[in-house]
Symmetry: none
Subunit: 410 residues, 2 copies
Amino acid sequence: MQADLICVGNELLTGLIENSNTGFLARRLWSAGISVREACVVADNEQAIRVALEKALEESDLVILTGGLGPTDDDLTREAVAGALGLPLVLNQGWLKKMEQYFRNRGIKMPDNNRKQALVIKGSTLLENQRGTAPGALMESQGKTIVMLPGPPHELQMIFKQQVLPYLAANNQTGLTAVKTLKCIGIGESMLEEKIKALGKWELPPISYVSRGFEVDLQIKGSGEGEAASVSIAKAEQLLRSVLGDYIYGSNDDTLVSLAAELLTAKKMTLALAESCSGGLLSDLITDFPGSSKFYRGGLIAYNSVVKSDLLGVSKELLEKEGVVSAATALAMAAGIKKLLKADIAAGITGVAGPESDSAGKPVGLVCIAVLGPGISENRQLNLGGGRRAIKERSAQIALDMLRKILVKL
Amino acid sequence: MQADLICVGNELLTGLIENSNTGFLARRLWSAGISVREACVVADNEQAIRVALEKALEESDLVILTGGLGPTDDDLTREAVAGALGLPLVLNQGWLKKMEQYFRNRGIKMPDNNRKQALVIKGSTLLENQRGTAPGALMESQGKTIVMLPGPPHELQMIFKQQVLPYLAANNQTGLTAVKTLKCIGIGESMLEEKIKALGKWELPPISYVSRGFEVDLQIKGSGEGEAASVSIAKAEQLLRSVLGDYIYGSNDDTLVSLAAELLTAKKMTLALAESCSGGLLSDLITDFPGSSKFYRGGLIAYNSVVKSDLLGVSKELLEKEGVVSAATALAMAAGIKKLLKADIAAGITGVAGPESDSAGKPVGLVCIAVLGPGISENRQLNLGGGRRAIKERSAQIALDMLRKILVKL
């Protein structure tokens, strides 16, 4: 099956907002065996949307439009699709009531222009939006499927996963794309490729590489249909694991956080964090995991070194002798927060995120991380580049990887 | 002037790689007074590229193609453009020599397939690539300008800034776009529009709305040329400020964090945070600001309620009587961290991020925030929707807005 994507919005054509919806939908469709023929971005203009839709319907069986479902005058996707199909818009009383309730819950009277969001194309199925006031819609027309989704990514993603994909599957519109992703950390893309090439002639399925900071996703696409594809993936995975070993930390939907969270939950252990240069990012990542309150005791962002000594009990002598950014300080921070928050395992991160070196002259990008569990500890010193945000992100990635490795041993 | 963008690449249509080139080019063109009519992504397929190019040339004066300039068999942009224009490809000896040198410098013999990258369309200008082997190209054809750029963002961006923009400017194809963005918080997009509509007939410049959680950017595009455009923006801004007042927190590059940071720095005050449901996100946002170490003492993520009582000194009676998620607890958390970290001003955030209600039955999305400064305090209770991440983000946005408002008064 083949799909066309149409993203609507002036803000995408002026670059005011990055378009992440095309990537998300393309990935999800592709792994459901639906290939995207073309993806376009058009303006908030009824005629432009209509022309794009008509062209897409000539080419593909499935057309997904995103954006332009808001309450304001420049939200025109509903009108354009209705016009192209020659169908009227009708008021959906059920959604109107939900919207009124939504505003009531927030103690606000619903503005009149939100009524527009309860207008649906006759014959279409409303896709409920649990995260906003713009519902999606889905309809069949002359053997083609048309889907409209709201533009905000967290709304679009939830509706797509919970309502659109199941619909497509139930209507036999999805196919099989046997794909497996191996998730790697601690090795660069080019070195990965070198190791894989050293395996010799590659008669196995094609592999693609996508890197994010210190992580690289290795995606293997199975050759052949059904069983044959699975077998080819299994063979490739075995070979890859033989050369990459510990660089592979998981597969498919695994993340560094999800694996650490599962291990903590399974082992009934609690976690505490003492962050300096990462500034709370690691804590933020961990608390994005639903259910993290079961194992996460909390953390301290010890941005000022006085906080490190006063609260975490890192001695002033150690800070002076070894430096605020040192392996010893990272370990003392981990020990301090472990005791303070009565946790089973703790991590300490200290480093120089920049833009300037620290007062002791330690260079930007120097980061020390310690993870401490019962009877076990691990220390790493890193020289990171890429600017302030990248240093924070990479510190957090490495700390999570160290945490996972220690948890496996416990 | 109007432009069309065509991004070529299977990897963009499977979502393996996020397409950041459209956003980059759109932003740069728009601020050079060139509006993008449509942006599309097409496959590595000669016919698909050709069809997209022919359509774009019908509509726009400038067409920019990205990607498909590599050395491999599936790189077909050169061939497709040459085919569409009916022009032959010729070998550029100069670029061939540069490529050979490039490989020699790396101690490698140039692979044969790289020769292909020295093929240029007859009559086109080669755009040198200092960061890779794929050169870009620029040509005029029947009054239209066609530009081809390599896909890797850091190559594309350098060529675009150093060679394409100057060419367009020298040929009088760029214009002036006078734009001002007013940054709003605490008011939804629909209510904003209602207030603006209540101003009566809008004879002022066009406005566009972009929302990010609780923030909305109001972008005013000046009407007319030069001075006239600035005057029209100033008029519009005055009117908008008269109805939106305090909802406008800043303009252009201001962010909630940058304004709070500037106020803290100017007033020589220090900040501390006690976060629960926001899980460290607020601290992460603040420490993204370069120079935050000057005013940020640190923070505590009190994810477990024992941490709230033990470390922040929130009394067990208060937690039991008022609840962990309550205005009183938020204030006690702020007071606790302010004292603990010896800061001048502090914020406390407690709430239910979900997916489940808390043990006391407080609903998902209930968030209480307190900000406490010398002789001043502010409390807010919110009912937030949108899922775990959105609740965290909105809590942080509101806390920053409260912090800024208190700092202004101090």
